[in-house]
């Protein structure tokens, strides 16, 4: 598979990038790891006239810890997430999801910014970031603005990014003390596959009263964007921990998602699997015994 010719722009600063975006508008595309963009260009799904190479820009790299938050540069690769010592406690959910992406080769190229800006409903970093209450910092000549990730992801392949903007970084507030969490991804095979359904869960519990406190659930691949399963969350929050309650919430989650039928799976199958995976994910995060699954 060959690429069609295009012009390669090598900005040396963020200002350069912004100016190029203003000058060329939708004729130019930003290039990060290229694992989505170059495939789409080879398949002739998009044919940008110009690519703006973001890779050398150190302003977009690195994970920085502030007192109560973590700032993750857009160019942070999946392998950097997997290995970062900063991604501890609740934040580790993101590292866990990164290990489930593609192959080592893809994880050495693909970035968190590319994963979010490509805005696939199956993007594996999105459900964990949704339950971690991530915001994204978007940047242009006009300055920075921050919006919740949930508002940024607007549809399949669609985001709140304006033509003159780039995604600069992802900001994570501190997760609640004692967060329990997990990420489950169901594909057609164990690896090298996009999610048919994925579930991220983050909960806190009150051990004395044996109740759930905070419950956050997000689902991938079962709606036009990765989504929070808010009705299921409400059903569990503050209530007694128990198998029956978890099963009922999983059913609610299966009702509130909007899966589609495509070449890879039917809507009915996806809905059924939301039920199975949400139950399993909540139980697993609580340390309940669950059958071995390999996912």
């Amino acid at each position: 598979m060959r690429l069609k010719p295009f012009e390669f722009l090598n900005p040396s600063s963020l200002e350069d990038v912004f100016e190029l975006l203003v000058r060329y508008g939708n004729e130019a595309k930003c290039l990060a790891g290229g694992t989505d963009l170059l495939v789409q260009m080879k398949q002739r799904r998009i044919l940008p006239k110009r690519l703006i190479n973001l890779l050398p820009l150190s302003e977009l790299k690195g994970i920085h810890k502030a007192e109560d938050s973590l700032r993750i540069g857009a160019l942070t690769r999946h392998v950097d997430l997997e290995r970062s010592a900063f991604l501890e406690k609740g934040w580790n959910l993101l590292a866990l999801a990164a290990t489930k992406i593609g192959s080592p080769q893809i994880r050495h190229l693909g970035t968190i910014g590319g994963n979010l800006c490509n805005a696939s409903p199956s993007a594996d970093t999105a459900p964990p970031l949704l339950v971690l209450h991530a915001t994204v910092c978007l940047s242009s000549l006009k300055g920075n603005r921050q919006i919740p990730l949930e508002a940024f992801l607007t549809g399949p392949g669609q985001t709140g990014l304006r033509e003159d903007e780039i995604l600069k970084e992802v900001i994570l507030p501190k997760p609640p003390e004692g967060s329990l969490f997990t990420y489950l991804k169901l594909g057609r095979r164990k690896s090298m596959d996009l999610a048919l359904v994925s579930v991220a869960v983050l909960v806190t519990i009150n051990p004395e009263r044996k109740t759930f406190e905070q419950v956050r659930l997000a689902l991938g691949s079962v709606a036009p964007t990765p989504i929070r399963a808010r009705a299921a969350e409400k059903q569990l929050g503050g209530n007694l921990i128990g198998e029956e309650a978890i099963r009922e919430a999983a059913e609610t989650a299966a009702q509130e998602c909007q899966p589609m039928t495509d070449l890879r799976a039917t809507a009915e199958y996806r809905r059924e699997m939301v039920k199975v995976l949400v139950e399993r994910a909540v139980k697993q995060s609580l340390g309940f015994p669950i059958p071995p699954t390999g996912i």
């Binding site: 060959r2 593609g102 080592p104």
Partner: protein
């Protein structure tokens, strides 16, 4: 438009001029004649094009040559020293881990990247490190055995 760039390929510094749409894989195979690196899918799925970029495994079919400007590339041709094969190449031969050989260069470079970070991998770690390298012949078992035979056990 043609752009100048530099690349250190198997320890040799090379200066060349490429159009923007040329991938690293095309430069290696067509400009430099290093045909050990294979093209299977051209889309990041099969791993036949795996090379090490600054010692990390990547799909050469999904990188523009210009994105590798100034970096170090290791291809399968860079592993042997004269007529002495690399230990991983020897292990693949010894264990019968090669049939048609199309996947082999990529497999060996993925194995090299694994063993450099994790000198004593478990079988699970070996299998996980190869998920991006498809083999349509061997059934993987002998490849896994070949790599495990190189694991540095204990503190020895």
């Amino acid at each position: 438009m043609i752009y100048p760039m530099k690349l250190t390929v198997n320890d040799e510094l090379i200066e060349l001029e490429v159009p923007a749409h040329r991938t690293l894989l095309e430069v290696l195979r067509n400009d430099l004649g290093l045909k050990g690196t294979k093209e299977g899918c051209g889309a990041g799925e099969c791993g036949a094009c795996t090379v090490l970029l600054d010692d990390e495994p990547v799909n050469a079919c999904l990188i523009l040559a210009l994105q590798a400007d100034g970096k170090r590339v290791t291809t399968i041709e860079g592993l042997s020293k004269g007529s002495n094969l690399h230990a991983i190449q020897e292990a693949f031969i010894r264990h019968g881990a090669i049939q048609c050989g199309f996947c082999t260069p990529g497999m060996i470079l993925s194995a090299k990247a694994l063993l450099e970070r994790t000198p004593n991998p478990t079988e699970k770690e070996v299998r996980r490190s190869l998920v991006g390298n498809f083999c349509r012949c061997t059934g993987y078992q002998k490849i896994v055995e070949a790599i495990l035979s190189l694991a540095k056990r204990g503190d020895g």
